[in-house]
């Protein structure tokens, strides 16, 4: 038996690339790709050409030369003799610090305000509406400058704290609010503080284990264990006990007025405070709207069902509404965290030494390496943003509706 197979001889003609729908999209993509690469290579060659016209080369060697400038807020060891690379790291840590603090406070503010804006209390909900609209409709830079100006103009100078001065320290002389920053006691770690730290971590693990056990028990038997009090006890009792047993391994260093300024203690500079709170309040307003949207996205029937089961409004919110609302809230929340991190580059307005001010500011200015510095800066923000979003995506995957 023979089958005659009718195979066309010229199965492929060049015109098919354009007229055959099987190949056309491929052709368009290849052409677009080539064009893109051409323009990209033109961009690079243009840059190289202009750099050589200016007599500049492309070199990252400047990162290892001494920086020569001082940085006031440094989380790691740094002096004016350190390298530009280290100055950049100091800046990066400062950026990450303000971004981290800002994200936490913004989330707390956002959730509170978002929930309260839905309150049945007319005054409360109107107040929250005013907060949200005022904060998110005025540029962030103005809020940063405003808070900074308030901190510098309305708080006393350190010299006002002298004998007979107009200002005095707060909380039993442990804390001072000045126009240069807030001075708080600083913990000093002695021998044995490692043990104390380990015990603290152990009690945290203990709390987690107890909560797991309590939940399992409640699911099986319906008994509700006093989770809150046991957790509180586990948190406080062992650490306090060992604090005395080990003979005060952690002491506090209090700020004291000496010379021109407060000495000792921990100084939280006004630039950090202004940036931190402006970022938190501003982003918090956006998060509040996201939270409100998330809560409104949960059907009213869920609330009614929870009430019908006898749950109080408080528990309804925590156990029924918020867990479901989280699925709607988290994705836009990620982009707010990214916004906050990137907006922290406005730090220069108040002289906060973030990475934009060290690497992207003084270093570029002193070395003339604009292209290299800006590329590094871009790379840092890109990496930081991608890391934040990947961490948040993991959380999102855990929280989102499991479809089986």
């Amino acid at each position: 038996m023979t089958i005659s197979v009718d195979v066309p001889k010229d199965s492929f003609r060049l015109s098919q690339l354009l007229y055959d729908t099987r190949y056309r999209s491929l052709t368009i993509q290849v052409v677009a790709f080539i064009l893109l690469m051409l323009s990209f290579s033109w961009l690079v060659s243009n840059t190289v050409q202009n750099l050589s016209a200016l007599g500049k080369d492309f070199d990252f060697g400047f990162l290892s030369t001494p920086a020569g400038y001082d940085i006031n807020q440094r989380l790691i060891e740094y002096s004016s003799q350190s390298s530009h690379g280290r100055a950049a790291i100091v800046g990066i840590l400062n950026t990450l610090l303000v971004a981290f603090l800002g994200c936490i406070v913004a989330t707390v503010i956002g959730v509170l305000v978002g929930v309260l804006r839905l309150s049945k209390n007319w005054v409360v909900s109107r107040l929250m509406a005013v907060y949200v609209e005022a904060l998110r409709n005025v540029p962030l830079l103005l809020w940063i400058v405003l808070i900074f100006a308030l901190m510098t103009e309305s708080t006393p100078q350190p010299r006002d704290f002298r004998e007979g001065g107009s200002a005095s320290m707060l909380l039993g002389d442990t804390m001072a609010i000045t126009n240069r920053g807030v001075f708080i006691p600083k913990p000093i770690w002695h021998d044995g503080s490692m043990i104390l730290g380990a015990i603290f971590v152990l009690s945290l693990i203990g709390i987690w284990a107890f909560r797991r056990y309590a939940r399992k028990r409640q699911e099986q038997t319906g008994d509700i264990l006093p989770v809150f009090w046991v957790s509180l006890g586990l948190l406080i009792v062992p650490v306090t006990l060992f604090y005395f047993v080990l003979g005060h391994p952690v002491t506090l260093e209090y700020p004291e007025l000496g010379g021109f300024n407060f000495q000792g203690g921990l100084q939280i500079r006004n630039s950090l405070i202004a940036l931190w709170f402006a970022l938190s309040l501003y982003t918090g307003a956006f998060i509040a709207e996201i939270v409100r949207a998330g809560i409104l996205a949960v059907s009213k029937g869920q609330t009614e069902a929870a009430f019908a089961l006898g749950l109080r409004p408080n528990r309804t919110m925590n156990l029924v509404i918020l867990p479901q609302a989280m699925r709607v809230i988290i994705p836009p929340l990620i982009s707010q965290f990214l916004n906050l991190t990137k907006n922290s580059s406005l730090a220069i307005a108040v002289g906060y030494m973030d990475v934009r001010a060290t690497l992207g500011g003084i270093t570029i200015n002193q070395t003339g390496r604009e292209l290299e510095g800006m590329l590094l800066l871009g790379l840092f923000y890109l990496t930081a943003s991608l890391m934040i979003s990947s961490v948040m995506n993991i959380y999102n995957n855990r929280m989102k509706l499991k479809e089986r």
Binding site: D70, N72, E153, G259, G361, N365, E370
Partner: protein, 339 residues
């Protein structure tokens, strides 16, 4: 997405392409305006007056160059720059020259690829403190909080000074002079440091200048100079010799009042004749008209006139000539001859 990137790349490339072009002189002539980078506002050196017209010592330098090149001292577009943005503005071609209290240093000249046209003000870094602080020397400032303008040489000098004297300080970096003064007046910093001329200029704007003193220590050499980009020697020559013309004019007694008279006909002094173009071809060598220096001097007067009008002892800023007197009067100003 792909399209956006493509268009963005095209835009960036197009912008970059315009930077590399013909000579700066041709650009300025074609534009009919000189783009001059100045500070964001420093009384006496560069600040807009009540009518919004820029006035000051550095501004006069821009106007003299504009007059020499374009024949019109008002044909200047002033571009306010901060300590951080000034070099990028110049390197990218946004401005044709900078006249902005910029210190002439080795690395700026050699590594940053700029050409300094000659010192127009010999300065040094000083400290200003409130009198009530009871400090009489910069070495008493151990532990003090010091406001600095970020992106300047003062930032580096400050670090060096405190390190070599083995005392500590807390730097408060600030973007512009105005913001620094606000911090200083609020008492958020104990001392403010910048060039001594800038301190005097700022102090003059205070309500009670007597409440603030400038400490005796001058911790650095700050030769302030107008500058241009490396690589365009003709343009560099024009700016350099415009400055020299102003200095020479003072030396030869040519002022804005009598320059027209001197320029009307060749006089007895051959150097005045060469300077003012009644003899020789100096203007043509620069690629300018023969009376380029006449216009430059007529614009804001010679060096001494500009100094006295803007920052001299009769103004609120009240700076003495000091190092900035002519060499014949014991100062450092010394122009190469016009020959």
């Amino acid at each position: 997405m792909k399209k956006t990137i493509f268009l963005g790349a095209l835009t960036v490339a197009g912008l970059a392409a315009t930077a590399a072009s013909a000579s700066t002189l041709d650009d300025v002539l074609a534009r009919g305006k000189l783009n001059c980078g100045v500070s964001t506002g420093l009384a006496g050196f560069a600040a807009p007056d009540a009518n919004g017209v820029w006035q000051g010592f550095d501004v006069d330098m821009c106007r003299a160059v504009a007059a020499a090149v374009l024949g019109d001292p008002m044909a200047v577009e002033f571009v306010p720059t901060t300590g951080q943005t000034r070099f990028t503005a110049l390197a990218s071609g946004e401005v044709d020259m900078l006249a902005r209290n910029t210190t002439w240093t080795f690395s700026r000249d050699v590594d940053l690829k700029f050409e300094f046209a000659g010192t127009n003000y010999y300065d040094g870094q000083g400290f200003m403190v409130p009198t009530s602080l009871g400090v009489s020397s910069a070495k008493d400032l151990d532990g003090a909080t010091v406001c600095i303008q970020t992106g300047t040489t003062t930032e580096l000098n400050l670090a060096d000074f405190f390190r070599s004297n083995n005392i500590s300080y807390e730097p408060v970096p600030i973007e512009t002079n105005a913001e620094a003064l606000q911090q200083y007046n609020a008492g958020a910093c104990d001392a403010y440091t910048t060039d001594a001329s800038g301190l005097a200029a700022s102090r003059a704007t205070f309500e009670n200048p007597a409440d603030h003193i400038i400490l005796p220590e001058i911790i650095s050499k700050e030769p302030l100079a107008p500058l241009v980009r490396h690589g365009d020697n003709q343009w560099g020559d024009i700016v350099r010799w415009t400055l020299n013309a102003l200095i020479t004019a003072e030396e030869l007694g040519v002022t804005s009042a009598n320059v027209a008279e001197h320029a009307a006909a060749a006089g007895d002094n051959p150097e005045v004749n060469r300077l003012l173009g009644t003899e020789g071809e100096l203007g043509a060598m620069l690629g300018l008209s023969a009376d380029w220096a006449v216009k430059a001097i007529a614009a804001g007067g010679n060096y001494g006139e500009s100094f006295e009008r803007n920052i001299g002892s009769s103004t609120p800023i009240g700076l003495a000539r000091g190092l900035n007197a002519l060499w014949t009067n014991g100062g450092l100003l010394y122009s190469p001859p016009f020959r």
